[in-house]
């Protein structure tokens, strides 16, 4: 078949934006290679989403519906995706670099005996041999590498927000039912319960006040809360962020973590307090419109990427700033 195949993901009953981005780049490759574009959708009931997906004009939407595919469970999703790949025999398979793609990608690569490149920020096809050129930041973002790997299908997970999402098409893709051959005996990891927690949507913040190891203790975040409170009077949506180290130390939950393995954000203002600025953190906030840094070490990375810097003890500077902002408001 030689198709370009995409794994579709569903968010709140609708096609995930990241899947639309995959559809965008997938459509281009299918055109370049003169092959079809297919989407696989998995779940217990995906008919509505399949209709929605078809309207973006892929050639085929494979609907893998099964009661056991309700919610994401890696073992059965993997088995189903593997079976779909065997039947469809795609040339290229693209997954989002989402929690689902991160988990399925390596295991799928192993089962199909092909090689995966994760978290790609660009993809193109080498006209010489038709293999994917996979561009990926490495070393936390200190370098950009272009990889080429043997094996078929050519397999990659793709970072969010790097490709333009597909737009609704005139033609409508064909919806194909495909029955996965799965049963409970294939479940090696059993799901006991899904526990929902209150999580911050950092990517929706207008302003982020973030703390790191330099806070010295968990209570430091209370000082940042004070700043967040006073800023929210003038700046809309103000949220608390943090570095990986602050999570490692157990000071704050990981939904606040900014960076490569946290959330990538681009707020109007990013205020970094006691964060030295490891590259893995910088790549997650460098798109901020204005960056303000407070740190005791004038030589730290964060000042190299900041617009405004204060060298000093945050425990003195931030409360003084809060007081001044209160007077001004």
């Amino acid at each position: 078949m030689n198709d370009v195949l995409i794994l579709g993901e569903v968010k709140e009953g609708s096609l995930d934006l990241r899947t639309l981005e995959l559809l965008g780049v997938g459509k281009k490759f299918a055109g370049d290679l003169g092959v079809g574009l297919s989407v696989v959708l998995m779940g217990d009931a995906v008919s509505t989403v399949a209709e929605q997906t078809a309207s973006y004009g892929p050639d085929r939407v494979y609907k893998l519906e099964h009661p056991l595919l309700k919610g994401f469970g890696a073992d059965l999703w993997l088995a189903s995706l593997q079976q779909a790949c065997k039947k469809i025999n795609p040339k290229i398979v693209l997954l989002s670099h989402s929690l689902i793609g991160m988990e399925l990608g390596p295991r799928l690569a192993c089962r199909l005996n092909t090689r995966l490149t994760t978290d790609c920020i660009d993809l193109s096809i080498d006209p010489e041999d038709g293999l994917l050129l996979r561009t990926k930041p490495v070393s936390g973002g200190n370098a950009i590498s272009v990889f080429k790997c043997p094996g078929e299908p050519q397999l990659a997970t793709v970072r969010a927000n790097v490709f333009d999402p597909a737009e609704a098409a005139d033609g409508k893709g064909e919806i194909v039912d495909m029955v996965p051959e799965i049963d409970e005996s294939m479940i090696m990891v059993e799901s006991i319960e899904v526990v929902k927690e209150e999580v911050v949507a950092l990517d929706k913040a207008d302003v982020v006040v973030a703390g790191g190891a330099g806070l010295g203790e968990e209570d430091g975040f209370e000082i940042l809360q004070d700043l967040s409170r006073v800023l929210s009077k003038s700046f809309g949506n103000v949220m608390i962020g943090c570095s990986r180290v602050a999570v490692d130390k157990g000071w704050i939950s990981s939904d606040h973590q900014v960076g490569l393995t946290g959330t990538m954000i681009s707020p109007d203002i990013y205020i970094s307090v006691g964060i030295s600025g490891a590259i893995q953190h910088l790549v997650g906030m460098i798109q901020s419109k204005k960056i303000i840094a407070i740190n005791t070490d004038p030589g730290c990375n964060m000042f190299k990427v900041a617009d405004y810097g204060v060298v000093g003890d945050y425990e003195k500077v931030v409360p003084a700033l809060v007081k001044r902002l209160e007077e001004l408001s």
Binding site: C110, V138, S145, S254, V310, L328
Partner: protein, 264 residues
């Protein structure tokens, strides 16, 4: 209960948090040059911490595996100082710049050679290539239950119980051991190791076992290198920082407040 066997895969890499000025890219040799000391990759340290906590809670033998072209036992001895029982270096010229699949394959050979184990722990990804594949591929190769991105790990009744990171909170999952779990940083940082303890371990008489490809029965032709076509520097991130000076914190805060006012 019988003591369980935990294997932790830990990679030695140049300090991934080195200052930007100490990192450069050699496009010709396709290498990232980091002028910083070698360390254990941070997420692997998280995995090691989990293993040592389990050892304290329920009793376990913790074995650390580290694979590379050349692994420094002084860097990896930190794992022993932290509380691991055994360290095995997997070293061979042929292990240079391997792709994730080949690394996982060599680790799988080493784990089969060890034989008995209940739990394999890896970090979610290594701080040099950020690939995030080796752990899960290793699990597949050993035909183990695989759990990705653990933020809490408990063991009981022959099962591993994991709180797995999901976008809206966590998922409590359970698998029969032996199993493989990749560890995320939410589990917490590696414990503090006193200088005395570290020095004692460095001066320790015990030699660290080292296995090469022959010891592992690896056919060299099966190992594949990463296919790097181009390696380049990222776009420059630097901005011109305007430092807000002042004799006192209040003066600095005043200037900063003025900046916020202007940004409103």
């Amino acid at each position: 209960m019988k003591e369980i066997g935990i294997i932790v895969c830990a990679k030695q890499i140049p300090d991934p948090e080195a200052p930007l000025s100490d990192v450069s890219v050699n496009a010709e040799s396709k290498e990232v040059i980091v002028d910083a000391p070698q360390v254990i990759s941070p997420f692997d340290e998280n995995a090691l911490e989990v293993a040592i906590r389990l050892k304290e809670e329920i009793g376990a033998k913790v074995t650390v595996l580290s694979l590379g072209k050349k692994v420094s036992d002084t860097v990896l001895r930190k794992s022993l100082a932290a509380g691991a029982d055994e360290l095995i270096l997997l070293q061979d010229e042929a292990f240079e710049k391997l792709d994730s699949h080949s690394i996982a394959s060599a680790l799988a050979d080493a784990i089969r050679k060890i034989g008995e184990f209940d739990l394999v722990l890896t970090g979610r990804q290594a701080g040099d290539w950020d690939s995030g594949q080796v752990g899960l591929i290793l699990g597949e190769m050993l035909a183990l239950p695989c759990i990705n991105l653990a933020r809490e790990i408990k063991v009981g009744d022959g099962n591993v119980l994991v709180k797995k990171v999901i976008s809206e909170g966590y998922e409590q999952v359970r698998a029969k051991m032996p199993a493989l779990v990749t560890v995320s940083n939410e589990v917490g940082e590696l414990r503090y190791i006193s200088r005395t303890k570290m020095l004692k371990m460095l001066r320790g008489a015990g030699s660290i076992p080292s296995w090469n490809s022959e010891d592992l029965g690896i056919t060299l032709e099966t190992l594949e290198k990463m296919g790097i076509m181009v390696l380049s520097s990222p776009p420059d991130m630097r901005r011109d920082c305007e430092f807000l000076d002042g004799a006192t914190p209040d003066e600095k805060a005043d200037k900063l407040a003025a900046v916020f006012k202007a940004l409103r």
